[in-house]
Symmetry: C2
Subunit: 367 residues, 2 copies
């Protein structure tokens, strides 16, 4: 399963695996795909440097990528405290009351919130980039549109390919014009931030819009058959995130969350602004239902909502308050039915792809 | 492009084309697919008999299908007038005022509303079936779940295959248990009634759930590349509706609506209950926006909503009030950019499929 793009990156399979867990990223790269580590939850640059060092030692010399969240427009002279101060008290009250209503315990005095999404901050993302360019990162992806022009230039100087996620052809063209090398077309069914257009429609639309730039199909892909479908749509590779969440290497730190993921059906996700302020697909929970209910506050715009709920998410996770426990995940969550090593998942992907190709060839050959 | 199912039906391509227009259905069947005529807008059985006679004369001996809308559960002793009486006056007032606000002219005295969706009524659907079984209909599809048991039996006696649309694996299993021969897995991106699960995720889920029953992939399919994707997902055929709307054989009777379809992007549809009472994807218009606006009445349940808006839709269409003019259509509307004969569309589908297969084979072969 090779394409021009996979050849350019020197990987055996055109399978890009996004994950917040270094052990998963390394296993994906070792299996022949490209593991892409999500950096959004890293705070201090030292933590990221430590994990990239670890990746260097555990990828068996295979390439890997890094996914940062860097807004294209910089807001000058605004501190985290300035932004925190913009959160209305009514919203804080709603969070406090919802947590209390469901018996979510408080963190201990002085205990830090483990769940963070401060990676989107310009200063944090910049320091992450300094770390990234000190490591043999093969691909630099940006989950929030194209990186700023100087970052694209710097990546090019370092021989690092850049990718950006797009939920519409219009966004994809904007990314191309910003000098991006690869567009990830992220369909409605994907986990995390998504638009309204599904992978089936979005992929070929983006392929046409940015041709000859390579496009990765993202959203709704968790089997080899779905990989074949994504490639049939003109993509030069596929971008998978949800399928790795229930691998044995994933460090969810929550048996309850793993159980929920394995039990969930394809209809058990919701596209909600409750997590970050932008529509993001995630497990539907009592927590997302609370934000969707009539008469409750509307989620705040990004980045306020993420800051507002960071501690709440942390507490829900730490104490495994099952009804409220969630995670970004796509509609393929319905296909996840057991914990397995990354290599076993990867073997299924390649075998499923071969099976789909054999069946398709028979259908095409009949006359 | 043959599958077990297409062989069983004696068609050259596993392409099922749903359309409300006899001329389009005939052209699809002549091109080597299976034209499936939608019967929901037919009232008197005589009209349907006339059009099926016409199909018999214009399909060049190729098979065709019929799509009825028949609720599995019968409501005894309820007349159209009884149901009409259940529509609240507040809803009627909102319709009157919205039409007046946008200057939609009234029908002439005694003029009948041309747009109807009375086909869902048990009595109407039953009389349609009597007509259907008098014609060489090869496939009987039902857009509202499985037909009643006696209809399934009757179809079997006549050697007519039955199909039912499903938006979830649960519904698909219910259809199978009712004795249906084929499940049409209708994804979120499809035009008309849809669920939340996209074609990429729904198709393989339904294939697994009803195996070995054949499944058709529906939603997001308007090119040969998308056909290849649908078949890669395990479908034994694809079900296309939107792509025929801008063919020269389509009798939209509205140049303005054709213009709107050709101009629309993939993001210009909305899944709304405004048309029938169940979520149905359609062009987003001033009319659907009015129903979605805060402080306006919620659409009524099916069948009340369809009855409530029938005359309004008829007036909007007759007078071509462009801002309000819409139609059920899927997200592939963004791909429709010119009027063409059905045969030209069909040629593109088969050529695109071959192109996708050639590209996929190259990707699979590289090692």
């Amino acid at each position: 399963m090779r394409t021009e793009l996979s050849n350019r990156l020197g990987i055996e399979y055109a399978v890009f695996g996004f994950t917040p867990f270094p052990a998963v990223a390394a296993a994906i790269s070792r299996a022949g795909g490209l593991g892409v580590l999500g950096a959004v939850r890293y705070g201090a640059p030292g933590e990221l440097a430590r994990d990239l060092d670890w990746l260097d030692a555990h990828c068996a010399g295979r390439p890997y990528g890094l996914d940062v969240v860097m807004p294209a427009r910089k807001v000058e002279g605004v501190s985290v405290a300035d932004i925190e101060a913009m959160i209305p008290e009514g919203h804080r009250k709603f969070v406090r009351e919802t947590l209390a209503e469901h018996g979510v315990p408080e963190l201990a005095d002085g205990e830090e919130s483990g769940w963070r999404i401060t990676g989107w901050l310009e200063e944090v993302a910049r320091s992450q980039l300094d770390v990234a360019f000190d490591h043999p990162v093969a691909l630099l992806a940006n989950a929030l549109g194209p990186p700023p022009p100087d970052v694209v230039r710097r990546a090019r100087e370092h021989g690092v390919l850049t990718a950006a996620l797009a939920g519409s052809a219009r966004h994809a063209v904007r990314h191309r014009d910003a000098g991006i090398d690869i567009v990830v077309a992220q369909g409605y069914e994907a986990g995390g931030h998504t638009g309204e257009i599904t992978t089936m429609v979005l992929t070929p639309e983006v392929v046409r819009a940015v041709d000859p730039l390579p496009v990765l199909a993202a959203g709704g892909i968790g089997t080899g058959e779905q990989i074949a479908a994504g490639l049939a749509l003109g993509a030069q590779g596929v971008w998978l995130g949800s399928v790795w969440l229930t691998t044995t290497e994933a460090e969810l730190h929550s048996a309850a969350l793993t159980r929920k993921l394995l039990a969930a059906g394809s209809g058990d996700t919701v596209r909600s602004r409750a997590l970050t302020g932008k529509p993001a697909r995630q497990l539907r929970t009592v927590w997302t239902d609370a934000w969707d209910a009539a008469g409750t506050p509307d989620p705040l715009p990004m980045p306020l909502q993420g800051m507002l709920v960071a501690e709440a998410v942390s507490r829900i996770q730490k104490y495994e308050v099952e009804p409220l426990l969630g995670t970004p995940v796509g509609q393929i969550v319905g296909q996840l039915d057991r914990e397995r090593p990354v290599q076993a998942v990867f073997d299924d992907l390649t075998r499923g792809f071969e099976r789909a190709m054999a069946r398709l060839s028979r259908i095409a050959a009949r006359d």
